[in-house]
């Protein structure tokens, strides 16, 4: 085999030519020049919503020359939670992963702080609500960027006709489309009386008492409206208080006018209850209304989403945010942060909210009055008050203000609904409280 030898002159000439070519040639950036990014987003149940998020990511990727791959991970069967746990164990997987409510705190050790993304966003879009701060921040460190994709308020969705007929409440007048609510009389007492009246009329409120999120969220908001906390912000157990007793008494009365099988309800039961036309109210994001619009339009046309009743300690509504979190093992953090910023721009958020038919809720103060909620129908303005445009409610999550890692246990174990059920089924008040106290002691594990 012959081998051509390179002379010293030829070598010098070739090197000089190559260097000159490299320096003088225009800087060409190919797709993927700025690296790769793997993203795991929540698989939206609204048809077409995933397409909008894909388009947003691809537009950014094209501009920034980043090669992206997106996986849509369903929350059916908690597949998203299993994925989070698996990636945390393997320390590998997506760069950015959508995490619901408690999971940024649960994985705080492995998340990249995103203060440099959040601080400019807050300046631009307004402050985030208290629940997002509670769930997304740890000792001043932002664990993720709140995303509108999948974030929701589980407020009352009432049947206009049934509430008027049986409870003598005009929900459209109380929460008029396009103007501030006139809900001073919408109290927990009024709520209970309305529940009793609708039950008597054969259309009970559809409020679950199972162990899934919808049941827990409603109990959480009502407990908070009585000032009832099982564990306070310092981490002290505060089960045996008058506020908790009051909340339990209230729930006992409420349970007596709910459907008899609510102990077995899951997150689909209340939706089915409304769509089948069996109840006057459920506490849910507008997913039930959206399905009714498709499957039972005559029911959807009579639905109105509005605010929670006010209790002795305030008006609380369950808010469940999703965060886009960046793993600390990500290899392309700068690109990831650029994408997180892009997805939280007002224009991007508006496109996402529109694609979700108004289901998705931004966490930022200035972005709760988008046109999309005012435009939804039937009836026109049915979702106007869904994002709480006048900030009349305190958005919260069940088991707060306990330290998030303890609160997550209270939430996951559905301690609140179990307490209510035990007490309503005849357990003595003090025994119920002692049981809850024992449960909370178990949640203090570190």
């Amino acid at each position: 085999m012959s081998r051509r030898r390179l002379s010293r002159r030829q070598f010098v000439a070739a090197t000089a030519l190559s260097s000159a070519a490299l320096i003088s040639a225009p800087y060409l950036r190919a797709a993927g020049a700025a690296g790769k990014l793997a993203i795991g987003l929540w698989d939206h149940w609204v048809p077409g919503a995933n397409k909008t998020s894909t388009n947003l990511v691809n537009e950014w990727a094209e501009k920034e020359k980043v090669e992206v791959s997106i996986d849509y991970i369903t929350s059916q069967g908690n597949k998203n939670l299993v994925t989070i746990a698996a990636e945390a164990q393997a320390k590998s997987g997506h760069d950015i992963l959508a995490m619901p409510t408690w999971w940024p705190h649960a994985n705080s050790d492995q998340l990249e702080p995103v203060n440099d993304v959040m601080e400019p966003l807050i300046k631009q879009n307004g402050a985030v609500n208290g629940t997002v701060q509670y769930l997304g921040q740890l000792e001043g460190k932002w664990l993720g960027v709140p995303t509108c994709m999948g974030s929701q308020i589980k407020g009352p969705c009432s049947r206009i006709d049934l509430m008027k007929r049986y409870a003598d409440i005009d929900v459209q007048e109380m929460y008029p489309a396009g103007s501030p609510p006139k809900a001073d009389n919408w109290t927990t007492d009024t709520f209970l009386k309305a529940a009793e009246a609708c039950h008597k009329g054969g259309y009970p409120f559809g409020i679950g008492l199972g162990e899934t999120s919808d049941s827990v969220d409603t109990a959480g908001a009502l407990f908070q409206s009585f000032g009832a906390e099982l564990v306070n912000a310092k981490g002290d157990i505060t089960v045996k208080t008058d506020a908790v007793r009051q909340a339990l008494e209230y729930y006992k009365k409420l349970i007596s006018v709910l459907p008899p099988d609510v102990a077995a309800w899951d997150d689909a039961s209340n939706n089915k209850w409304l769509i089948a036309g069996k109840g006057a109210m459920i506490l849910n994001p507008p997913s039930a209304w959206a399905v009714a619009k498709r499957d039972a339009p005559e029911i959807a046309a009579k639905c109105w989403t509005h605010g929670f009743p006010v209790g002795p300690k305030g008006r609380f509504a369950p808010f469940l945010p999703f965060f886009l979190a960046l793993w600390s093992f990500s290899k392309n953090k700068s690109a990831a942060k650029s994408l997180l910023t892009q997805l939280s721009q007002p224009a991007s958020i508006e496109r996402l909210v529109k694609a979700s038919g108004g289901y998705d809720l931004p966490a930022f103060e200035k972005l709760t009055t988008l046109k999309v909620w005012a435009e939804q129908e039937p009836p026109k303005g049915t979702l106007y008050h869904y994002p709480d445009p006048y900030h009349q409610q305190k958005l919260s999550i069940a088991a707060s203000p306990a330290p998030p890692k303890i609160a997550q246990q209270i939430y996951a174990q559905a301690t609140l609904t179990k307490m209510c059920l035990k007490y309503a089924q005849g357990e003595k008040m003090e025994n119920t409280l002692a049981w809850a106290e024992d449960q909370c002691e178990g949640f203090m594990r570190t």
């Binding site: 908690n78 939670l81 299993v82 746990a85 164990q89 408690w102 999971w103 649960a106 994985n107 050790d109 199972g210 162990e211 899934t212 459907p259 008899p260 099988d261 609510v262 102990a263 077995a264 309800w265 899951d266 039961s269 089915k272 209850w273 089948a276 069996k278 890692k405 997550q408 246990q409 996951a412 174990q413 559905a414 179990k418 059920l421 035990k422 024992d438 449960q439 178990g442 594990r445 570190t446």
Partner: protein
């Protein structure tokens, strides 16, 4: 002893040749071939079973935030929790009741199927196996609709006869009954097919001899069929006990462990604590607790099988 003058290179060649011969012989041995053929499966088990099992043990020894070794701390914590003992009790009730009914129904149906003329038997066997071949997550969803809290098809049927609706999944007793019923429905065909195979292997001469001795139907079952099926009954029971004890999908889909945690099994409670509660070490400890209970059951059942094998 014979001295042979050989060069250094020749010794090396001889050694190489003998190694090649040994390898050739080894490859020709049946045991080596068998080992090589099972090697992929051994590797698969090592990766998918042994590694996760040891990893679970490792996780169970860590604290909640997985930063510190706590030894048996998680187990000590569990022993102090009432819910844990409730789950132990429920798992035992669920597994034992379900296995007894599966075995009983399987045994009866196997006898019926055995007595069907062979031409039609194949069709019946196929039909009876349907519950077992449908993925349980799918069939349980169908059961969920039948038991649905508000729209139960069972309640609709009961209503036609003027019977009040039953809260199948909302009352503790009915909820336990429902999850056991679905498990029996799903698992009985497995017993049926195993027992059917076993029944076919019982020699007809034994029944003929028993008939000559004047044995009635019950005596034929008690003195001929059952002793001949003892080993298969024991093995099937053990296998089913393990699978039923570790059940997840049926309870998860039907009740999620409710109402008031009273239908939780080890697997569903471990998922609740480990994944939904982000306490993976405690979840791992709960799921590991199944192992000693099943090991004790396996020891007694297999000891019995071995004893009978030796007697034979």
């Amino acid at each position: 002893m014979v001295d042979v003058a050989v060069g250094r290179g020749s010794v090396k060649d001889l050694r190489r040749a003998s190694a090649a011969t040994r390898l050739r012989y080894a490859l020709k041995r049946k045991s080596t071939v068998a080992f090589l053929m099972t090697l992929p499966l051994i590797l698969l088990i090592a990766v998918l079973v042994i590694y996760p099992a040891f990893y679970a043990i490792h996780l169970a020894t860590l604290n909640k935030s997985m930063t510190r070794f706590v030894g048996f701390g998680n187990f000590r914590f569990l022993f102090k929790r009432d819910t844990f003992w409730m789950v132990v009790e429920q798992s035992c009730i669920f597994a034992i009741t379900a296995v007894i009914f599966k075995a009983l129904i399987g045994f009866i149906v196997a006898h019926f199927a055995h007595n069907i003329p062979s031409g039609k038997q194949r069709k019946w066997r196929g039909m009876l196996l349907v519950p077992w071949v449908i993925p349980p997550a799918m069939s349980t969803l169908a059961w969920l609709w039948l038991f649905d809290p508000s729209y139960s098809a069972f309640n609709y049927t009961l209503g036609l006869f003027g019977i009040a609706p039953v809260s199948w999944l909302g009352e503790v007793g009915w909820a336990r009954f429902s999850v056991i019923l679905v498990n029996v429905w799903y698992g009985a065909p497995f017993f049926m097919i195993m027992y059917l195979a076993s029944l076919k292997s019982v020699p007809d001469q034994l029944y003929e001899a028993a008939a000559i001795d004047g044995a009635n139907w019950w005596q034929r079952i008690w003195y001929v069929t059952l002793p001949m099926m003892r080993n298969i009954i024991a093995i099937t029971t053990l296998f089913s006990l393990i699978v039923t004890f570790a059940n997840f999908d049926i309870v998860r889909i039907l009740t999620s462990g409710g109402p008031l945690d009273q239908t939780h099994l080890f697997a569903t409670w471990a998922f609740k604590i480990g994944i939904e509660g982000s306490d993976i070490p405690l979840g791992a400890s709960i799921s590991l607790f199944m192992a000693p209970i099943l090991a004790i059951a396996a020891y007694f059942i297999l000891r019995d099988v071995t004893k009978r094998g030796n007697e034979a």
